[in-house]
């Protein structure tokens, strides 16, 4: 293993301001649900995304075989992760790159901040910023006087937003125009909300940045262990500018992105574009191996990020989430995501896969992280569409168990725990169940008017805020059965 290098231990670097804790999913979702513009944008974007994915998958006769291959390759790669990562490190080093290992976010921040400071640059370009966002890089660089610039169009727009909508907010052109006029350097005052016009304004700003930038930080989609090659897919071509123009390129990559060989990549280069944007091929597929003298960056650093991944890998059920190739197909089919957008899931991994991954990487201590596995109806649409067949509902149920267990032995039991224990105690014994059935029916009928219950007590009140409940009939099924003539009760007709 290579140590972080002399620049990796810059004092004071790496710890930006601590953001306030995220609220529970249900609380965070309320703002999104009330945002008409967001709801409309999400509805049309996810609907279009679903249709594109379905069309692109239906084109291939062997789509199901491809999914199965993707699952098998990822599972095998994860089981041999130690071997593949060391092979990758050897290959990257031989090709003139430098590999850094970061166990956690703080270590990764220190490494990247140190590398950036060593270049003397005061600005950094970013592409595929998910891993950088995961480690909180922007704040860490800002703390040492380095500004970061997004280059992906959606990220540029999100970065200009007054509220941190995130890249999935799908703002309409009129809103984008407002944002550009307020915050995009060089945006012409007569800017229209014609998409071509908007794109041209960003392009003019970005071209200037690409040509003068000294350092870029990127994420990757895949790393090929056998040759030490990084693979990055993007649709705009701005990524390729970031990867080739600056003198120093720093890749921050989750360790789960490694695949053993180029033949494995063949499967994912079909699965990913069809699942993400419904395309046959991603417009810009960049691959690079270390450095090439006289061409592209003069220094290449790869920061291999664990940050909870090996912990997830140790979990027999939860580890399947690490197969994720970041296509976002599960977001587009998720009825919860369609209504809340990504923000309530937290800043890094969003949608159903985020709910399955984040609590594994970050633990379930905080109220926010503990609420994520419950942010799903378990409808199963995500599992049906996932190109690497991650059974997200199975993982969510597994994690719900972890949340419940972590809180089971608190000094004061929660009302929910008492209710669930009471329900199990009652339902688990015939005599108790039948007594409860008689009493419950009587009580519930007292609450009802005109055959329906309009207000329920306690924890059930959130149901009746917007929904009625039918009053239970006076006679339950089993008492009706018991009252049938014995000839009809199991006797032959």
């Amino acid at each position: 293993m290579t140590p972080s290098g002399p620049a990796g231990r810059a004092p004071g670097a790496g710890d930006g301001p601590v953001p306030p804790p995220m609220p529970k999913f249900a609380t965070a979702a309320r703002d999104a649900l009330a945002d008409t513009r967001l709801r409309r944008g999400l509805r049309s974007a996810t609907e279009a995304g679903r249709a594109r994915q379905a069309g692109a998958a239906a084109e291939l006769d062997d789509w199901e075989a491809l999914r199965e291959a993707g699952r098998a390759i990822k599972d095998a790669a994860l089981l041999g992760l130690d071997v593949h990562l060391e092979e990758l490190e050897r290959a990257v080093t031989e090709a003139g790159g430098t590999v850094h290992w970061a166990a956690g976010a703080a270590e990764a921040r220190r490494v990247v901040t140190g590398l950036v400071r060593a270049t003397g640059e005061t600005g950094v370009l970013k592409v595929k910023p998910a891993a950088a966002r995961e480690i909180g890089l922007d704040a860490a660089l800002a703390a040492v006087g380095v500004t970061t610039h997004e280059t992906d169009l959606a990220e540029v727009i999100a970065g200009l937003g007054a509220v941190p909508d995130g890249p999935d907010a799908h703002p309409d052109p009129a809103r984008i125009r407002e944002l550009f006029l307020r915050g995009l350097p060089g945006a012409p005052p007569d800017l229209t909300d014609d998409p071509a016009d908007l794109v041209a304004a960003v392009r003019a700003d970005l071209r200037e940045r690409f040509l003068t930038a000294g350092v870029a930080v990127c994420g990757v989609d895949f790393m090929v262990a056998e040759t030490g090659t990084m693979v990055l897919l993007e649709s705009e071509g701005n990524g390729r500018m970031c990867l080739t123009l600056p003198g120093t390129l720093i890749a921050v990559a989750g360790i789960e992105t490694v695949v053993p060989s180029w033949t494995d990549l063949e499967v994912f280069l079909q699965l990913l574009p069809r699942s993400s944007a419904g395309e046959r091929m991603t417009p810009a597929v960049s691959t690079w191996t270390g450095i090439t003298p006289g061409d592209g960056p003069r220094a290449f650093h790869l920061v291999l990020l664990d940050n909870g991944r090996t912990k997830a890998l140790a979990d027999e059920i939860g580890r399947a989430a690490l197969r994720c190739i970041g296509c976002s197909a599960c977001l587009n089919v998720c009825p919860v995501y369609e209504r809340t957008g990504g923000v309530p899931y937290g800043p890094v991994h969003q949608g159903p896969i985020g709910a399955a991954l984040t609590p594994q990487l970050r633990g379930v201590k905080s109220a926010h992280h503990a609420s994520l596995p419950f942010a799903s109806t378990l409808c199963g649409a995500c599992a049906d569409v996932c190109p690497v067949k991650i059974d997200i509902p199975e993982i969510l149920v597994h994690l719900r168990g972890r949340v419940v267990e972590s809180r089971r032995h608190r000094p004061v039991p929660s009302p929910e725990l008492l209710m669930m224990r009471g329900a199990a105690w009652t339902l688990g014994d015939r005599r108790r169940y039948e007594t409860a059935l008689r009493r419950g029916t009587r009580w519930a009928r007292l609450l009802s008017r005109g055959g329906r219950i309009r207000r329920l007590p306690g924890l059930l009140g959130t149901w009746s805020d917007a929904r009625d409940l039918p009053a239970p009939p006076a006679e339950s099924f089993r008492f009706w059965w018991a009252g049938r003539p014995s000839r009809a009760r199991g006797g032959r007709p």
């Binding site: 999913f25 249900a26 979702a29 309320r30 649900l33 009825p335 919860v336 209504r339 809340t340 596995p373 419950f374 942010a375 109806t377 378990l378 409808c379 199963g380 649409a381 599992a383 049906d384 199975e394 149920v397 994690l399 719900r400 168990g401 972890r402 419940v404 267990e405 669930m420 224990r421 329900a423 199990a424 339902l427 688990g428 014994d429 059935l437 029916t441 329906r452 059930l460 959130t462 149901w463 805020d465 917007a466 929904r467 009625d468 409940l469 039918p470 239970p472 009939p473 006679e475 339950s476 099924f477 089993r478 009706w480 059965w481 018991a482 009809a488 009760r489 199991g490 032959r492 007709p493």
Partner: protein, 242 residues
């Protein structure tokens, strides 16, 4: 055929009419229905809410109640899915392989599967002269994969006008305790489901899970929409004059 009815605790208390309809329907088709009285809850709610120890206890109770029954039929797709899919997982979490073995030994069918696959009937001789739309529940389609079996049964009902529900495959937002824990999102989902239902001008919404129907029906009732919800069994149990 001798059929053990697993009515599901939810139906037992809130929708006894569904259990009576299954009984009447199967007896009309010439089969014998028995009701193992030891049955309670399969453990679905506890399992999906994360109370896995309690779910294991309930699953053991279910296994004991139905031990030795060859054919089990239930008018609840989500409970059938719990026994077939979740019991092996509950067994794994509880390190109690007996729970998984019990699920293997039982042939648990959701009603439409039983009628179409086992009995081989789609026309059960029902008469129901109303405009009906069908909501395919998540557990029935993505869990059990019942496909169009319920629709084939409905199409064979005399007098019934079946109208297609737009965006039918989308979850109604119930999700068990999700409807309580994430009530706002849940209501946002059912609001769209209700919009689609009302767009069909159907008088009745039909499905194979009363839990989802309680959700959709609860919203329709709050709006005083006049649209009724009915389990498939209740429609199939209806017979015409003569």
């Amino acid at each position: 055929m001798r059929v053990a009815l697993f009515v599901a605790c939810f139906n037992d208390a809130l929708f006894p009419g569904t259990g009576r309809a299954v009984t009447g329907l199967l007896e009309r088709l010439g089969h014998e229905v028995v009701f193992p009285p030891g049955q309670g809850c399969c453990g679905q709610m506890h399992w999906t809410t994360g109370y896995h120890r309690e779910a294991a206890d309930l699953a053991r109770g279910f296994a004991a109640a139905f031990e030795g029954r060859e054919v089990v039929v239930t008018p609840s797709a989500s409970c059938a899915a719990t026994v077939r899919e979740a019991f092996p997982r509950i067994a794994r979490a509880a390190r109690d392989p007996a729970i998984a073995r019990a699920a293997e030994d039982l042939a648990v069918y959701e009603l439409s599967e039983f009628l179409v696959d086992v009995l081989g009937v789609t026309d059960v001789g029902a008469y129901f002269p109303h405009r009906v739309t069908y909501h395919p529940t998540c557990h029935s389609t993505r869990g059990l994969r019942v496909g169009d079996r319920p629709l084939r049964l409905l199409r064979a009902v005399r007098g019934l006008e079946l109208v297609e529900l737009p965006a039918a495959g989308e979850c109604c937002g119930f999700g068990g305790t999700f409807a309580l824990k994430n009530a706002d999102v849940s209501v946002a989902m059912v609001a769209d489901k209700v919009r689609h239902v009302r767009g069909t001008s159907a008088d009745v919404v039909c499905s194979v899970d009363n839990s989802c129907l309680t959700h959709i029906g609860g919203a329709l009732s709050r709006l005083r929409s006049g649209v009724r919800v009915m389990h498939l069994a209740e429609i199939l149990a209806e017979t015409g004059p003569g």
